[in-house]
Amino acid sequence: MSAIDIIEHPLGRLSLESLPFYKMSQDPTLQNLINGSIAGTAALIAVGGAVIVAGLITYFHGWRTLWSDWLTSTDHKKIGIMYVVIAFVMMARALIEAMLMRAQQAWGLGGGFLSPDHFAELFSTHGTIMIFFMAMPFLTGLINYVMPMQIGARDVSFPTLNSVSLGLTAAGAALIMVSLVLGSFSTGGWFGYPPYTEMAYSPGVGVDYWIWALSLSSLGSTFTGINFAVTIYKERAPGMKLMRMPLFTWTALCAAILMIFAMPPLTVATAQLALDRYLGFHYFTNALGGDPMHFVNLFWMFGHPEVYIIILPAWGVYSEVISTYSGKALFGYRSLVWATMAISVLSFTVWLHHFFTMGQNANINAVFGIASMLIGIPTGVKIYDWIWTMVRGRVRMTTPMVYSIGFILLFVLGGMTGILLANPSIDYQVHNTVFLVAHFHNVAVPGVLFGMLAGYHFWFPKAFGFRLNERWGIFSALCWIIGFMLAFFPLYVLGIMGLPRRSAGYQQAAYVPLEMVAFAGALVIGVALLALVIQLLVSIRDREQNRSPVGDPWDGRSLEWSTASPPPEHNFPVIPEVTNLDAFTVAKECGEAYQEPDEYVDITMPRNSILGPVLGIFGFVLAFALVWRIWWLVILATLATFVTIIVRGFARDLTETVSADDARREHQRLLERVRISPAISRDDERAPVNVGLAKQGPAKVVS
């Protein structure tokens, strides 16, 4: 780190050897050629994708729009959409990696075609991306888009901080993408246990990529959690009492509280690992008093609440979807709220079940085993509530409903295997086998991913003003469900047969048939992803037939459906008054929806800010420089970050005003549309005639 170092190695550890095809060109054995070609292709896709996107933006003269309408925007709706875009891009990558892994294991008898290191990189990036750069941005995006409107607010409490969170998350995602091109990613799994991830055993840049990508993302998530919690506590419309909030907002609140309390342990764990690696500290080393178990504890003190951070919002989506497409108020609203809160609290008491086999005594294991099983109770309450919501409802089998019912059926199975694993004596038998892999995918894919996709289909017409193609949507949903079953049910059996997780190869011929089935499942999931892409393209092509600008295509129940689609930047012409749960349904039934208010007032909105993208760029540069140990750049980026924050303190004039006249004009345009549009019944929900105005049945008393 001395001055001479900086002059002699201005690019730190960066060199030609960092390129993915370097090893192949120096030592062209067959395995090196295969691995190098796969890595090289991935790098080309990453670089090529970036070049094509940049080219398209240039061709359509989109840079100015991109910068001033999107990247610097502090509008919670645009930030939400950008989060979801990140989630989809990262999902595509992690899914391709999953298919490669299944292919490797399908042909894994005696070794497979990938080198063990390459395989280890694949499962490490797959896990890291799916948790931190798919699930987290997806749920953050959905909450960002929907929650402020559900509580009748104009934006989140801290719009600029929101944009900073997005910038940091994007920087983390970009860092992981760069690891495809320069150097290689960690081989230590998504939880990166030391001592394996210490300098002594992993001297390369991989673990450093992992550390800094996670640090950027967890910092962003901490800010997001604070922002969401404060928004829900402070920005609710008059009359929107806590017990009148839509269930999705409740789950957003619980997830936000979990983020506030669960992110710091991760920050500490990765920071201490970084100190070990960079400055020779001894937190988790084998020698000189380091204690690797301490990392494991810290990581799962974050890691277990994290499971509920990602799953609770998905359950909120299911609650909205099932109640809306059943045309009924949510069954057992109060019990759902209490169950959500109970799960949030319990989530902090079970972290030890991730390492029952790592040496604590039987009594401690028993306590944590029982605590883990307890979570099954509130979860069971929820499952029954969702089922009872559908009973005697007017259920429509739309795409989000296909996901929801697939979720209920599959998740119960995943929950059952969770109860099995919560028993330490059973855990000892199947620990570290693919049984565990099957279990957590069985809760994470139907539990989280299906929920996020259901939410994407549900709120897409709100965000863009037209509905997604149903035929492709249902086809994709069925592919997800069938592909999931094919890919993961065999792993339960393989796990009991003794196949260790993360095996690049194996010697038992008996594994092969089931591995082949699992590979077929991965291919079906690949088709599902492809179908999602085609669906989007088809829907954009046919958008004129599927427009629903009035904004309420599904006869929605909460306030976000009461505005136009897409909504104006200030969401509501005047802040609504709330008197009941299911505020918009009540308004429609009492004939109070789409009314002109007595008077319009000026609306204060936050101005755009360059702080988010600028801090995102500096964060990325800092992390990149740290990974490659380019010290002058580390110093420069740190200084730049500090200066930016200080200069920001001197910024004034941070708001702009939407005049009462503009708000009135905007609202009257919507009211005019309401007047001329046909109100449609639920039978025509998917027909072109559905422009987003729902026909009201006979008014009935809603308690």
Binding site: Y283, F650, R652
Partner: protein, 209 residues
């Protein structure tokens, strides 16, 4: 917002009816900052946990008895407590509108006390490294150099923030944003005082007992 913000009170110093605009704007802002401090407290909690679990992991190297200097630490404690008092005076001076000069005066004293604290602390660290207690030496030394300098870094950040705020005062006077800045920095500063008391008790007093 139909809530009557005049009646709204949050933990800590409230600006009240003499500063209606800032008092109203403080509602979300101060609550948000309290939430941030909760998250920060968890961060410190985890680092304290690291220290306690690594306390005996000296790996044959020097331990607390060999490294800590209670005299210096006592002076640091007094400096930090005094700086919390002077910050309290600054907050009161802002609330009761005793003028920009007095406010900047109290803040400057606070800054000087903070810098003096940091000076003594750096001196402590250097002398510990001198005695063979550098962080590379053992798990215990690593844990110490995680916890105490983390607090020191927080104080450093607080000092930079204070300078930024004084700069904003000179540029814009006492506008709403500056007032909110002072109120948040005050919470931050007192919070670091509480963390220091925990460090003084858990690290130094318990270590030398």
């Amino acid at each position: 917002m139909s809530r009557n913000y005049q009646n709204f009170q949050y933990p800590g110093l409230n600006l009240g009816s003499a500063h209606p605009e800032a008092h109203k704007a403080a509602e979300s802002m101060m609550f948000g900052f309290w939430v941030f401090l909760m998250s920060d407290a968890i961060l410190f909690g985890m680092v304290f946990a690291t220290y306690v679990t690594q306390l005996h992991a000296t790996a044959g190297g020097p331990g607390p008895q060999d490294l800590y200097d209670i005299k210096s630490v006592f002076i640091e404690t007094m400096l930090l407590l005094a700086s919390s008092f002077t910050f309290g005076m600054a907050s009161l001076s802002m609330k009761y509108e005793h003028g920009k000069a007095q406010l900047i005066g109290w803040l400057t004293i606070t800054l000087l006390l903070g810098l003096a604290f940091l000076g003594f602390e750096v001196h402590d660290f250097l002398s510990m490294i001198d005695k063979g207690g550098a962080p590379e030496r053992s798990g215990f030394a690593s844990a110490f150099f995680d916890l105490v300098p983390l607090h020191g870094l927080h104080v450093t950040a607080g000092c930079i923030w204070l300078l930024g705020l004084v700069g904003q005062m000179l540029r814009y006077g006492l506008d709403t944003r500056t007032k909110l800045g002072v109120m948040r920095l005050a919470l931050f500063w007192h919070f670091l005082d509480i963390v220091w008391i925990a460090i003084f008790s858990v690290v130094y007093l318990a270590g030398l007992a």
